[in-house]
């Protein structure tokens, strides 16, 4: 079941006009922001499919930037997100792609600053619900049927064990887990699907563990 909660149906509370093209877009932007861990200096946002055709009318562009500024779907500031971003010195570029995506509402976000950059692909599946399908070239094989988190970490022994221990401590059962890395000792990624919803507090605890760079919820 892709939709687990009644609040996926009645909700979210949001700024109009579109749950998939505005609220979903803001959420994709916000996941990118939370994985990056800080406000990016620049962003290149590419739209595919229905997003590419109608992003202006749905304020998809404005909403994604709102997400990058860490605004939630109901934050009134979303309306002025592009202006706010420019005031804060963020350089933003929008690209309309012609390639036909697997899902009609697909966006690719590349963000960065002097210290690094990140690329993420997200899809908006309806009613404001989103899935992240790619991060830094890693394809994420999420079933979409369970809550999921992404953990970016350094490839060191014990890193995976500390994260799974932390989840076990809170009685959170791992249903599926995928680990991948760029190379030995380099940037690595854990994609973890669990049976229970993971609270912000637990995410914060995982973030504090050794060798962990970023943690973000990608499905709930």
């Amino acid at each position: 079941m892709k939709y687990k909660s009644v609040f996926d149906i009645i909700g979210p509370i949001m700024i109009g006009p579109s749950s998939s093209h505005t609220a979903g877009a803001a959420r994709i932007g916000r996941v990118a922001r939370s994985l990056f861990g800080r406000e990016p200096k620049w962003a290149v946002i590419s739209f595919y499919g229905s997003f590419a055709q109608t992003y202006k009318g749905h304020a998809t562009d404005v909403a994604i930037v709102g997400g990058l500024l860490d605004f939630d779907t109901f934050d009134e500031r979303i309306k002025n997100a592009v202006v706010i971003a420019e005031e804060r010195g963020m350089n933003i570029q929008f690209v309309k792609e012609n390639n036909v995506p697997d899902h009609p509402n697909t966006a690719k976000i590349r963000i960065g600053d002097d210290e690094g950059e990140m690329e993420l692909v997200g899809i908006s599946i309806g009613g404001g619900k989103i899935e992240i399908i790619e991060l830094n070239g890693f394809e994420l094989k999420l079933t979409g049927h369970h809550p999921a988190i992404l953990v970016v970490h350094d490839d060191r022994s014990g890193a995976i064990a500390t994260v799974s221990n932390e989840l076990a401590k809170h009685n959170i059962n791992i249903g599926q887990m995928q680990v991948s890395r760029k190379g030995i000792g380099e940037m690595a990624l854990m994609t973890i699907e669990v049976d229970q919803t993971i609270s912000e507090d637990i995410l914060a605890e995982i973030r504090r563990l050794p060798h962990i760079t970023q943690v973000a919820r990608v499905a709930d």
């Binding site: 909660s5 609040f7 949001m14 109009g16 006009p17 749950s19 499919g49």
Partner: protein, 295 residues
């Protein structure tokens, strides 16, 4: 756990409870949240819906200028006391329009199940409350009943216009509203499913063809008709009329129709009303340039 309408109805009938109870119970078990917490969360959604209708009835206009002010016109017309289809039905219509006019103006709304279809459920709820006099708790339970049927459609078909056309958005919203009205008016769980089936049957094939890609034309008026459709279907179900095709099969038919719908008719502004001469002219006026070359 229920996966489809048949299971939902059976769960409710076997335990002699309402659809709303089954949805609340499932939400508690899936999220681990308490009854109070869940009711409080839905209460917040209800408040956002109330405020959106209130705001829309005062009159709002979108930036594009395509929509706004129709909710006010309808209320003024109802006040004159000479309506053909009756004040209750038109009240639902005007309140659905009010919500979607606020949405188009980038106001705050609650997606139900989506933003583009956010008017139907609150529109009907705030109209029937004049007649059925529900408590605040009853109104919250109305949203759980609607949510239960939306949950079934979302998991077995789609609630996305880009994936399944408007039938998946306003069609789903309308079916959800019909079921919830039926339950609030004292209908049985089986009658709720009949109301959903009757409504959705009459929304099958509805395409998503927004002019200039904006959630305005024809979305606002489709919410109006979605609300009217839901009210009539609820009355039909309460009268004992049943759908020859069971609810789950109607949902499945909607899903399959969505899959075969051409991309031009799934929220790309590539066909339908968006591609009419006037649709394209409006698009050009709004953006200064057409989204796509004229056909």
């Amino acid at each position: 756990m229920f996966k489809n309408a048949a299971e939902l109805v059976k769960l409710a009938e076997d335990s002699q409870r309402k659809i709303a109870d089954i949805m609340i119970e499932q939400e508690m078990s899936v999220t681990g949240r308490s009854y109070e917490e869940i009711m409080e969360m839905m209460g917040k959604n209800l408040e956002v819906m109330e405020k959106a209708v209130e705001r829309g009835l005062k009159g709002v206009h979108s930036l594009s200028g395509l929509t706004g002010g129709d909710a006010v016109l309808l209320q003024e017309y109802i006040q004159k006391g000479n309506t053909l289809s009756g004040p209750l039905l038109l009240d639902a219509v005007s309140k659905a329009v009010a919500t979607n006019e606020v949405n188009a103006a980038m106001g705050t709304i609650c997606a139900t199940p989506t933003a583009g279809s956010a008017g139907v459920v609150p529109g009907t709820l705030f109209a029937v409350q004049e007649k059925l006099k529900p408590s605040r708790e009853d109104k919250i339970r109305f949203l759980f009943t609607a949510g239960a049927f939306g949950y079934i459609v979302a998991n077995n078909a789609s609630i996305s216009g880009a994936a399944g056309g408007c039938q998946a958005e306003v069609g789903s919203a309308s079916g959800m509203a019909a079921a919830a009205i039926t339950e609030m008016a004292g209908g049985t769980p089986a009658q709720c499913a009949e109301a959903m089936a009757i409504t959705l049957k009459n929304m099958l094939g509805l395409v998503c063809d927004p002019v200039a890609g904006l959630v305005e034309v024809p979305c606002v008026k489709r919410n109006a008709m979605g609300a009217a459709n839901a009210m009539v279907a609820a009355d039909m179900a309460l009268a004992g009329v049943t759908s020859r095709i069971p609810c789950d099969e109607v949902i499945d038919a909607m899903y399959k129709i969505g899959q075969t719908m051409p991309s031009a008719l799934r929220e790309t502004a590539g066909g339908g009303l968006a591609a009419t001469p006037t649709g394209r002219k409006l698009e050009e006026r709004i953006y200064g340039t057409p989204l796509q070359p004229h056909e």
